[in-house]
Symmetry: C2
Subunit: 593 residues, 2 copies
């Protein structure tokens, strides 16, 4: 447990109140933690002018973790923690990727002045999410009322997506904001500082709620379930960035987020004749080569809501964004298996590699699953035990300190908070391998379903969806052209080679432009055959059909095995609502100005 | 050239007429040829009681090859060769898999009595293909009028498929005929012997026609093009056998069939720093381990006729049977590449492996293509240089003496009559790699097509089709159940895990039974993951819907990447009519008795 972190000097009691924090002390402690490998600093490095006046407040101890739950409607907070102590020369840097707050020794000899602006709770901030109620945002501990600025925002109404929450993840996505004059504009709208008060409430509730130490999440996420936390980003944001920032990356937790002390973390690799191998985080980082891949991860339930419209299915009602693309770094599973004793003798009987997370249910059962040995051991399989996501430590919602990344395969096999690897002749016997995450015929109902009749989902089929325009959008006829955007991906390392787009419900088709990088940025190099783990973003700009009052826009992707998406949902409907990869359709209205 | 065979003693002139053949001499010569590796004897071994009184008449020399062309309507022969010399104690054994006839030295001292039954030409035999015209078949050189037997045939009307041609391939398929009492029944219907006369006509035409030395094919094949020869079997026969007999295996030739002398055959392996490797057939058979796989091969144009119905496409109008499943034996391409010098240095630059056939057009350009190096070199890729098909030497129509078998990949890459392998940093520049065998959007026409915009087809998408009942079949309502049969396969080694069948046009679905072997036979063992190269046969027996007057029967397959077939053809239509893998649909009528 978190004794190592406590030894750094941060007990909960000591940290409870800290209006008089020493900035120097905090900085020193942060650096201690950074050495433990838990503090990502990508943003820190990207904005040195901000970083130079920033203190990163951070903690990894379970006791010091704060839980934030975001209501299902995406508009109100149940438990808000500000806990941000500000003063002259002390600015809270962007720390949302950890969502953790550290408070210092109240007995410190150095004091920090409190802000002279009013202090607001997050509850208060989240009430301001519209032009009617005012549009408030937070940035580095400051609260800003940007209502007047909305009309002037070069990016238009998109700024409203950040209303009631933090700007930082949006600015990480839209790097154009990384300019001094943008900060100058923002500073004109400052109305206050965030309050630390909700923090106390949160701590009081903690003992009753296994989810109380779950990390904070950004309010822009569309929450499908709070406990365990499952949420996805708005489509128009997801499709704007080739690499999905972790804040916006869909969260799919099966249980509460375990608090893992990186110093005492151990990965156990078992099942080999020579006995188990126990690896610390340091071992992983120093004993094995670091390997980086860009890989898309998709939940088997992505687009389930479309199946639900056909006939009710069991499962979270995911939209089209339970998918994301990230840069993952870590060690190859292959290298760890070889170190543990994989060789010709083991190859004779080993058929599967099991993964177990540190997330456990009330009976002590960990989330677990397995993948076939050939994927695990192949040099071309690229299965990682990742400790970084997008150049930072893996965030807690995504598996800190180590998660599996099985590229080309359903997200359910990429076990987070990895605690145990077992090599075996058999598939995992876990619920998630044997009973869930399987596909069935549309004619199969709960009465006659036989889980043994279907294989566990591993590689996923070809997929694509339209992120812009949104279903129900209204387009002005004065526009001469219409731009349609989206993502496309296929499982098994199969590269998407074409996306067809129809503006007339599938009667005629045009070929979209594919991108493997952000607009105007150098594109990622072509992957070797069979190792296209990352999605493609695509875009089509076409003349607006002159007469139409309504357009049914459709996309469908083709991968390099020339597999295509099926036309419609009903024939692939299944009782769990998995593998929903029919053509994606949105309807838009065309109106006169 | 055929000098080695000529040295065995069989010149054309010597062989022209041979009413007085010595059975002993023929037997001896056949054995000589067998040692050259050209005479498959699977059938021979399977029916020793027949073999004991049989003489295999065979030849491999170009001059001794006979050409047989079968008219497009499948009912008449243009050039027929009988050339069968019979006599007491001399029975022509089943040699259709070579379609070659050898005649012996006319000066032989031993004579054979001519048959006392009338002699018929093949023209005459092929006129008898119906109950009205009489049903004639040939078997081991005899002509049989089985008109009266048709009504008594336990297999029903299926016997009519053999009408006008040889029984042998059907009996190879339906092994139940391998019984003495069946031969006794047949013998009652004998009406004559086959005539050698058309042989002369054929030889006279030979010098004018590059296709004149193409092998004989069975008349049951549905010919799509005579020159080059392209044909597919009737669906109801294809679906009856897990392993497709070579006679019934679809033929897809790009040029005429080259006559290759196995003794002088050389395979050149080029592009390596150490120079070229030249391998004889003997080298291949003795220097490398023999490896056997069961793999399905499918033409990229299979089911093109369904696309043609939507809008005209360019290409042969294939039905649903340009696909077959065979047992292939030979050496691994991997082993040959390693012997030629593949290693870490070559791996740095090598990206593709080119194959060139010995079939050449009038400009001397060979059929050629390439596959990615990772498929070629992977132990799990299972790419073979095959010299056997279904336990016999590769038949000439299928690439004698050596062909490539690239399992999981479009048939076009499995180059027949393999002459040259080149390792390269680039894809093959051949027409068939760069301009043909690519998929395009349904919106792409010949004016705007850019071949560079699409990758060469390698792995094929998931596929299935209904072989029974036939489209337009009539079903008696007194049947309480309906049985639907078909095949299902997917590219890239992805195993078919489910076939859904609908009897009501796709409204409801039932799950078919899958088979990896012949009915009542032991099933093939499950393949390792990613190496499911062979198709599955499937079958559904379901209650006949009580009210329906017409049924629209549909099948669709799911592979273990959970890729599915698209619902309809129009959205996957493409100008070349390739990759036609939408749901297969047949309509049947239900009538009162």
């Amino acid at each position: 447990m978190p004794s190592d972190l406590h030894s750094v000097g941060l007990s909960r009691r000591q940290a409870d109140y800290g209006a008089d924090i020493s900035a120097m002390l905090l900085l020193r402690r942060c650096h201690s933690l950074t050495r433990l490998g838990h503090v990502g600093t990508q943003r820190y490095r990207a904005a040195p002018s901000l970083a130079s006046r920033a203190v990163r407040l951070c903690s990894s101890s379970r006791d010091d973790q704060r839980s934030y739950q975001h209501a299902n409607n995406g508009a109100s907070w149940k438990h808000i923690v500000a806990g941000l102590l500000t003063g002259t020369g002390v600015v809270l840097t962007y720390g949302l990727h950890h969502h953790e707050v550290e408070r210092a020794d109240a007995g410190s000899s150095t004091t920090v002045e409190s802000s002279r602006l009013p202090v607001f709770s997050h509850d208060e901030v989240t009430k301001h999410r519209s032009l009617e109620d005012g549009v408030w945002v937070t940035f580095k501990g400051g609260v800003y009322d940007i209502t007047e600025f909305v009309a002037m925002h070069p990016g238009g109404n998109k700024i409203l997506l950040a209303a009631g929450g933090a700007l930082e993840p949006f600015w990480a996505l839209y790097a154009v904001h990384d300019q001094d004059h943008v900060l100058e504009i923002l500073s004109q709208y400052k109305v206050g500082e965030l309050s630390p008060e909700d923090l106390k409430k949160q701590e009081d509730a903690k003992s009753l709620d296994p989810y109380s130490s779950d990390p904070e999440r950004h309010p822009v996420l569309r929450v499908k379930c709070k406990k365990p936390f499952n949420a996805e980003p708005p489509p128009e944001i997801l499709g704007d960035s080739y690499i999905t920032p972790h804040v916006l990356f869909f969260k799919r937790n099966h249980l509460s987020v375990p608090q893992v002390d990186p110093a005492s973390y151990r990965l156990n690799v078992e099942g080999f004749p020579g006995g188990a191998l126990s690896l610390s985080l340091e071992d992983l980082k120093t004993r094995f080569p670091k390997h980086t891949i860009i890989a898309t991860m998709q939940c088997a339930g992505n687009r389930r809501s479309e199946m639900n419209k056909v006939k009710r299915v069991n499962g979270l009602n995911w939209g089209i964004t339970a998918i994301g693309n990230a840069k993952w770094s870590g060690v190859r599973l292959r290298d760890v298996l070889l170190a543990a004793g994989f060789g010709p003798e083991v190859a004779k009987w080993a058929r599967h590699v099991h993964f177990e997370g540190l997330d456990k249910d009330v009976t002590g059962t960990a989330y677990g699953t397995s993948i076939p040995i050939n994927k695990a051991i192949s040099e071309e399989g690229d299965v990682l035990l990742a400790y970084e996501m997008n150049g930072e430590d893996i965030p807690s919602d995504h598996g800190f300190p180590v998660r599996v990344v099985v590229p080309g395969v359903v997200g359910a096999r990429s076990v987070k908070w990895l605690g145990r690897i077992v090599i075996s002749a058999e598939e995992s016997s876990s619920h998630w391998q044997q009973h869930d995450y399987k596909g069935f015929s549309p004619g199969t109902d709960w009465k006659k379903v036989d889980p043994k009749s279907a294989p566990a989902i591993q590689e996923l089929p070809v997929q694509s969806a339209i992120t812009v325009p949104a279903d129900g959008a209204v387009i002005d006829r004065s526009n001469e052209t219409l731009t349609v955007k989206g993502y496309a991906w296929s499982g098994g390392g199969r590269e998407v080679v074409r996306v067809d787009v129809s503006l007339d419900g599938g009667k005629t088709w045009q070929v979209a432009q594919l991108r493997s990088g952000d607009e105007g940025q150098p594109t990622e190099p072509s992957p070797p055959p069979g190792r296209a783990w990352a999605w493609k973003l695509w875009e089509l700009t076409a003349p607006l059909p002159p007469e139409a009052e309504e357009l049914e826009i459709i996309c469908k992707a083709v991968d390099n095995s020339y597999n295509v998406q099926p036309d419609t949902i009903p024939p692939i409907w299944n009782l769990r609502g998995l593998l929903s990869n029919a053509w994606h359709r949105v309807k838009v209205k065309v109106t006169e100005d």
